[in-house]
Amino acid sequence: MSTKFGRLVSLVYKRRFSTSTSIQKGGSEQGVKSLNLCSAINQALHIALDSDPRSYVFGEDVSFGGVFRCTTGLADQFGKNRVFNTPLCEQGIVGFGIGLAAMGNRAIAEIQFADYIFPAFDQASYLPWLGLIVNEAAKFRYRSGNQFNCGGLTIRTPYGAVGHGGHYHSQSPEAFFCHVPGIKVVIPRSPRQAKGLLLSCIRDPNPIVFFEPKWLYRLAVEEVPEDDYMLPLSEAEVIREGSDVTLVGWGAQLSIMEQACTDAEKEGISCELIDLKTLIPWDKEKVEASVNKTGRLLVSHEAPITGGFGAEISASIVERCFSRILDAIKSTVKY
């Protein structure tokens, strides 16, 4: 199903992606190295395989390093029993991963492009007619009354537009998975975040879909601590403080939003920018607190608007902050 996309990386111009990230757990500033997002992921995978002998990395083409090179060097270091190619079959990859995880292993599966994750849908959810990520991974613990779980499963997949990927190398399917109780959805915005969040996902006792912004694989370069550190899941981060409007986003879109904040500042608008990081279960409280301060909310995502996760955020925040938003509207409208 997958088609290759080898030339992508060389076509993207280099630009530094700056964030105001601070390391939240561990991570001494000693041994910090400038890395792009792809190398940060690669480093996280090295650490994951090194720190747990029951961890495995597999997927289409991962053995030689993967089409995006995120798995480079892993097979050489950890052997082909722990890092291996699978046939071209997404439902097989996820189904195999669930079985491996259910036996107490850390199964780190790669789906080459998020656009091709749909055959694996059934292996992942709740409703019997929906589908392995949705029907199997997500419900494994619940349906067994906590007798079995596949919490060791992490599905990594590159998502999002890069400018020339067309329909099938550009999609942002995160909302589909956010509708499924039982899995977590995590999207990093930068190399340092990617490494810390991926390690948390791999070690979290729940199945997780980890969407990697492929636009940033080589574009985003950041100082990344070389040691083993984890960033907390379900914890949003205010990456820019402001007082007039709250902006919420995740992944690659944050770089666009950061630019928008800078532009707005020139016009005298003070923006607060929040990186949600974990989409489900998401940090409602942090967004709520910010909107209660600013009275306004703007959500921006790459995915289609209709039925997008932005709608979920808007609905929840309107429900929680209705009177504050109303006040803001009142004070804004001038007669």
């Binding site: 079959c89 259910a102 292993n105 055959p119 199997e136 494994f140």
Partner: protein, 471 residues
């Protein structure tokens, strides 16, 4: 009568044209070869040829599809293709879709439970034989009681194993307790064999607080970690690729055990079946696939499910060993599964077993199968080909079983079952909080919030909520 299941409505592929007038040299005539593309099949023993059929160019297709009978021109003339050398031939011949003769079905006992001469089977001790028979009777009795209980409206749903008791019990008997079982849903006999009590079956079907699944799933969705029996999931065939993952884990841990997974004939049409077979073969996973070919996927007969000679032939394309066994012959099933398990572990390879059996009961209590199949057909399988009475005759013939034993067994099981119903029915429903736990390892804030909302709503409208659920 027995041939109904195997009757084929179409003729076999006739012997391919051997005329040399169709002869042309490989790779020369692009336009004429393209006309054969639609009828070309990949070679079953040579995965490398499959790669050719995926090429954009059609030139190689017709020439390279070899059959066993096709003579290679010269053994030294071969294409050194990734995956191994492939010989050339100048004979243009398409591979037929299937063999002229159907794959025979391995059996040990005839319809009267008499041991066939020169049978190749695994010996069963008196103790084992009696235990197998007793469990088959228990399963049979459990099914009829549960069915009645559902009909009385005391449980919401049920699904019987009638006609498939031999596949259930004999396969379980042939396995070791360490073997990991990933069931479909018509194999509770395996769990019964492993020591899941009648009481536990009833707790699950009544969805009470003692159900290990905490009352969350429909009846018959059993699972028990203690018994290495993964919890049943409704979607068809999803357990098959998972079994390969579980088997790979056993392999990496160097365990002397295998994964065993079940599916039905309908399940083999799912993508997951094919994914699992391919993954298992490539990863040399010690997994035994047992397909209960019971003739019907709800109302769809096997003739409308696949054109192939059943399921066992499908393994061949994936380079997986397989055997077709009479699923109503407990001794044959026991022997086949016992041997398959040994090979899977010793040689670290997957095995596919196709058990020919018959679903005597309706698909479930929500189904009336007389709407789509002949009563005569059901009766024939229920009476003449009954796997329980067949095995009974063999056990009796060995002098291991008497009428007195039979009476005692049946009355004792019935007593246990009646008692188990009463206990299960009286037990409390699981508490409300169980609705929100185990979605994740811990209840996240969004679910805590939903639980609070639900409790508020119950406080406000207590009459609109079931009174038997502890808050």
């Amino acid at each position: 009568m027995a041939s109904w299941l195997f009757a084929r409505s179409r003729t076999f592929f006739s012997t391919p044209h051997r005329s040399k007038s169709f002869f042309f040299l490989p790779f020369l005539n692009h336009s004429s070869s393209s006309s054969f593309r639609s009828t070309t099949l990949p070679h079953r023993n040579s995965p490398t040829l499959f790669c050719f059929s995926r090429h954009e160019s059609t030139k190689a297709d017709a020439q390279l599809e070899l059959d066993h009978d096709v003579t290679e021109d010269d053994v030294n003339q071969a294409i050194d293709f990734p995956g191994g050398k492939v010989g050339f031939t100048s004979e243009m011949r398409f591979i037929s879709e299937t063999a002229q003769k159907r794959v025979p079905c391995y059996r040990v006992l005839d319809d009267n439970g008499e041991l066939l001469k020169y049978s190749d089977y695994v010996q069963v001790s008196k103790e084992m034989g009696v235990k197998m028979y007793s469990h088959m009777v228990t399963l049979q009795t459990m099914d009829s009681i549960f069915y009645e209980v559902q009909r009385q409206g005391r449980i919401s749903f049920y699904l019987t194993q009638m006609g498939e008791e031999a596949v259930n019990i004999a396969s379980a008997a042939a396995l070791a307790p360490d073997d990991i079982v990933l069931p479909q849903y018509r194999e509770p006999g395996v769990l019964l064999w492993r020591g899941f009590t009648l009481q536990q079956f009833f707790h699950q079907c009544f969805g009470n607080t003692f159900d290990l699944g905490k009352g969350r799933q429909m009846p018959i969705h059993y699972g028990s970690n203690k018994h290495n029996y993964f919890t049943v999931s409704s979607p068809i065939a999803t357990q098959l690729p998972q079994a390969v993952g579980a088997a790979y884990s056993l392999k990496m841990d160097g365990k002397s055990a295998c994964a065993v997974t079940f599916c039905g004939d309908g399940g083999t049409s799912e993508g997951d079946f094919h994914a699992a077979m391919n993954f298992a073969a490539l990863m040399d996973a010690p997994v035994v696939f047992i397909c209960r070919n019971n003739g019907w996927a709800i109302s769809t007969p096997v003739q409308e499910q696949f054109r192939s000679d059943g399921i066992v032939v499908k393994g061949k394309a994936y380079d997986i060993w397989g055997i077709r066994v009479d699923g109503n012959d407990a001794l044959a099933v026991y022997s086949a599964v016992h041997t398959a398990r040994e090979i899977a572990i010793r040689e670290q390879r997957p095995i596919l077993i196709e058990a020919l059996t018959y679903r005597v009961g309706h698909h479930s209590t929500s189904d009336d199968s007389t709407k789509y199949r002949a009563i005569d057909e059901i009766e024939y399988w229920k009476m003449a080909r009954n796997p329980v009475s067949r095995f009974k005759r063999w056990v009796e013939r060995n002098g291991w079983w008497s009428d007195k034993d039979e009476l005692e067994l049946r009355s004792s099981i019935k007593k246990q079952l009646m008692h188990a119903i009463q206990v299960a029915e009286k037990a409390q429903k699981p508490p409300l909080e169980d609705m929100f736990t185990d979605v994740y390892d811990q209840v996240p804030s969004n679910l805590q919030e939903q639980e609070r909302l639900l409790r508020k709503s119950i406080e406000k409208h207590p009459k609109d909520y079931p009174s038997d659920v502890p808050l």
